[in-house]
Amino acid sequence: MQFTSESVEDLVEQFSKLPSIGRKTARRLASFVLKMPKTEVEELARALVAVKERVRFCTVCFNVTDHEVCPICASSRRNRSVICVVEEPNDVMALERTDGFDGVYHVLGGVISPLDGIGPEDLRIRELVARVSEPDAEWPVSEVILAVNPNVEGDTTAFYVSKLLAPLGVNVSRLARGIPMGGDLEYTDEATLARALEGRVSA
């Protein structure tokens, strides 16, 4: 059933453009907005506009930020000699939540995906190579961690980036792949289990 208001229908239309939001959920969200106090709706609208007006890419790592340089790159507490390469800004947030990495990041903006026609020129790989090769007496880059997803596109990207970084003399590593913590060997697929065996470490 449709709403009797064109404005509400328009809102439903806009909500349904969001990922994983179907028409039914969009209608529920529109109903919720109708019931919200006007001040909260204005705050929501302001936040939506502000995110497009203020947010930009960090000029060093290409993570999203409100400033020219993101707080991670600007921090004096971070170890700038270790760069963790990720696909998307969401991956930075995931790694930061671990509280186990004190280096800096480089966001590629995707991965090489041949079937989608996405190649190195569509990503920030050139910028990564420039960043690693530029001389910095205080923080010469010693390690690049490739934290791309463990799929075929990720493998293709990792091989290519490793090839480019090899002549620069930095240590290039990749996140370990295998059984998730709390997982069960019996229910792990063969490919993952085989990779876990290959990547086993001393106990």
Binding site: S20, L115, G119, N151, D155, T156, T188, D189, E190, T192
Partner: protein, 259 residues
């Protein structure tokens, strides 16, 4: 007319493509042994508790269980298990390039739900050879192109013996008929101008071998850079002539940036 009933399909398949759908699902394009190219929906494939693991990655050789319901555009894949490991393919950029090209070419040339067991066998044997290849894995790309178009009815009509019979060091390949002659006047069938490719005897001989040999034997063929480039151009010309409208080039463009 009897109405088709829902049924379970168990078959082997190669994963051609896998794209995210919704929050946790995936739409996976398979080349199956029983029904050819088929797109299936895999609910929960991206969830951290997914039982599918790495089996839905492109280039995987798997056994699948699909719940088929008539009238549905996308059937539901409910179970997978690994049929071959093929871990070697993911250990080098050269092998990955060849595999990506093979997957793209197969997806473009084969129609949905047209069973073609020989094409399935060709795909599996080529990827299996690529998996174990120590060198010359690039030979498998022109091999696969020629063999797939041959399966579609465009098999070249000459052998190594025809090349040995050429008087000169060069010959001419007639793209439409797939015949070879010493020059254009030697063809019995006519064709529009420009529908021939001149090539060295060595390139034509390699072309003939690629058309007849099996995937593992192709890995023993030595081609220097000049010969390889001539053979690849010859194969590309022949394939384009027959299936140009369907020819994809995304992978080619991406790897042109990489090399």
């Amino acid at each position: 007319m009897a109405r088709e009933r829902p049924h379970i399909l168990r078959t082997h398949a190669v994963v051609l493509r896998s794209i995210d759908y919704g929050e946790t699902s995936r739409i996976v394009t398979l080349y199956t042994e029983e029904r050819g190219r088929m797109a299936v929906l895999v609910r929960g494939a991206r969830s951290s508790k997914s039982r599918f693991g790495a089996t839905l990655e492109p280039m995987s050789h798997i056994e699948v269980v699909i719940f088929c319901k008539p009238g549905r555009d996308l059937q539901n894949l409910t179970e997978t298990s690994q049929a071959s490991a093929w871990r070697g393919i993911r250990r080098s950029l050269d092998k990955l390039e060849t595999a990506w090209r093979i997957l793209e070419f197969t997806t473009a040339l084969m129609h949905e739900e047209e069973a073609h067991r020989d094409v399935y066998n060709l795909l599996v044997s080529t990827l299996a050879a690529l998996d174990v290849a120590h060198a010359r894995s690039r030979n498998l790309w022109p091999f696969f192109q020629l063999r797939l178009v041959a399966e579609l009815g465009f098999e070249p009509a000459f052998t190594r013996e025809d090349i040995a019979a050429l008087a000169d060091e060069r010959g001419v390949l007639h793209l439409e008929s797939g015949q070879v002659a010493e020059d254009v006047s030697g063809f019995t069938t006519g064709g529009p101008s420009g529908a021939v490719r001149e090539a060295s005897r060595a390139a034509l001989r390699a072309f003939a071998i690629l058309c007849r040999a099996d995937a593992r034997s192709v890995l023993n063929m030595h081609m220097d850079a000049t010969l390889r480039s001539e053979v690849e151009a010859l194969v590309s010309g022949y394939v384009s002539w027959h299936v140009e409208a369907a020819l994809p080039n995304r992978t080619e463009k991406v790897f042109a940036q990489i090399s």
